[in-house]
């Protein structure tokens, strides 16, 4: 489920200083936000190529991480460019609805294009960062950035526990699927409810056992970071 995490530990620059990598990410984001368009295109292409080289990820898999966000990009573009106007000429593909025309505003087209380019450039930079920096190193960045200690401790624990819950989640869902628990929409909602309830019980069970384990490890209130 968290394939990005796995790549983050196995890439070619895993041992670079995380602070340096964070700095590079910041540079990339600044390039995405600066006004020169051709520079963004260069950054976009370069970062994609560098990421694929560094992480040895297959091109197919790399692009699969974009699928979930594509519908949102498209919807956002639609939201930006579609408008209603009384002047037919200011629109592309105007459709008359009552006394007005609905279509895509010509003035918004360049703006939408710039938005998509900026968005994609920023996204590939963040993907680069996520794919080359194990979360453990990100904790060090948070520490260097003087985030409060208690937040870093909780983040660190949460990172560990996520994998425990994902295991449980997948086992339960598999078992439900094999007993036809997701064969229709209503069954799916019901089974999801059962799954949520069972995961919730895991919170209690894990807390219970972990309390004992913490005692055995002589825990006295602070996790070292």
């Amino acid at each position: 489920m968290l394939s990005i995490d796995k790549y983050a530990y196995e890439n070619r620059i895993v041992n670079w200083s995380p602070k340096f990598k964070a700095l590079l990410w910041l540079v990339g984001i600044m390039l995405a936000f600066q006004p020169i368009q051709w520079l963004k295109v260069i950054v976009l292409v370069a970062v994609v190529a560098i990421t694929i080289y560094l992480t040895k990820v297959s091109v197919k898999r790399y692009f699969s991480w974009f699928y979930p966000i594509i519908p949102f990009v498209i919807l956002s573009i639609v939201g930006i460019v579609v408008t209603a106007s009384v002047h037919k000429t200011s629109l592309i593909w105007p459709v008359k609805v009552g006394s007005v025309y609905i279509g895509m505003a010509k003035v918004m087209m360049p703006k939408a294009g710039r938005m998509v380019l900026q968005c994609m450039t920023a996204i590939v930079c963040t993907y680069w960062f996520a794919l080359t920096t194990p979360f453990i190193q990100i904790l060090q960045v948070l520490k260097a950035a003087r985030f409060p200690r208690v937040m870093i401790e909780v983040t660190m624990l949460m990172y560990r526990f996520i994998f425990i819950f994902i295991d449980a989640f997948e086992q339960i869902r598999q078992a439900q699927k094999l007993r036809f628990g997701y064969d229709s929409l209503s069954l799916m909602i019901r089974s999801s409810g059962i799954l949520a309830k069972m995961l919730f019980e895991q919170v209690i069970i894990n807390y219970e056992m972990m309390t004992k384990a913490l005692d055995a490890k002589l825990y006295d209130g602070d996790f070292y970071i």
Partner: protein, 269 residues
């Protein structure tokens, strides 16, 4: 009959967990089929491929001569033919009362309530847990929970049942009961495929074996054949059952199970 043709599977396009496996499972006299392999040899991945939870990256699976169809309908059919019971009972019992949980699959299949009731009662009595029918799950022992999990799959009436580590966490008594239970399932006409790290249990329970390692089937055969090769087992981090050890090293006859050995004990003392 389950037939695999050149089945390969990989999670990440890099390492092949299963690498070109071809075999036919379920000859007439193979009732309980054992899959052996060390931790991480790919047994679980293999099982998940058999029940359609994972789709082979290459090759195909044929059930009774027909290739598995990975559509919603095709998978539904597959799951009515092959059921699986996972190792951890807690993650596959969804309701707090035994009979509700056992009925889960039947409710999902939208069977009429009378029929559901009849089938649940039948399965519970076959598994000797009818008295537990109305009991809350949380008060059951590990062995009882395991039976409930098996019942939840048995009600589907599938021809094949896959059991992943059926004895894990059970005490010796629970283990002995599991052995009997499997025999009962076989007498009912069901085919069992199981995997376990308990070599003695496997030896006494199964009648045909496959040894999985490095993504391949390294060996197959009946108990005499598979367990004789000490070297191969050692390489795969497995061990010989003690009945085989005393046969090989002490020169005693090779018995199928300990009852046989001890029934005959008078003869060689």
């Amino acid at each position: 009959m389950i037939e695999l043709k050149n089945l390969s599977f990989s999670y990440d396009d890099k390492t092949k967990i299963l690498n070109g496996i071809s075999l036919k499972i379920g000859a007439d006299d193979h009732k309980v089929i054992g899959f052996m392999g060390h931790n991480g040899a790919g047994k679980s991945t293999f099982f998940l491929n058999l029940v359609g939870e994972l789709k082979p990256t290459d090759g195909e699976i044929l059930i009774d001569g027909k290739p598995v169809v990975y559509s919603k309908k095709g998978l539904r059919q597959l799951r009515r033919k092959i059921g699986i019971v996972f190792q951890n009972s807690d993650q596959q019992i969804f309701y707090s009362i035994v009979k509700d949980d056992v009925a889960f699959a039947l409710h999902n299949l939208k069977l009429p309530p009378a029929e559901i009731n009849r089938r649940v009662e039948k399965v519970l009595s076959e598994l000797d847990i009818l008295p537990l029918k109305d009991r809350p799950i949380q008060y059951l022992s590990g062995g009882q929970k395991k039976r409930v999990a098996i019942a939840g799959i048995m009600v589907i009436g599938s021809e094949w049942i896959l059991l992943d580590e059926p004895t894990s966490g059970l005490d010796p008594d629970g283990r002995a009961r599991m052995k009997k239970l499997i025999q009962k399932l076989v007498d009912n006409g069901q085919h069992i495929i199981l995997s376990s790290h308990d070599m003695d249990f496997m030896y006494e329970t199964c009648d045909y074996f496959y040894l999985l390692g490095k993504g391949k089937i390294l060996e197959q055969g009946n108990k005499q054949e598979v367990f004789n090769n000490e070297q191969l087992l050692k390489e795969n981090k497995l061990d010989q059952p003690w009945l085989v050890k005393i046969h090989q090293k002490l020169g005693l006859p090779l018995y199928d199970n300990e009852q046989e050995l001890f029934a005959n004990d008078g003869q060689h003392n």
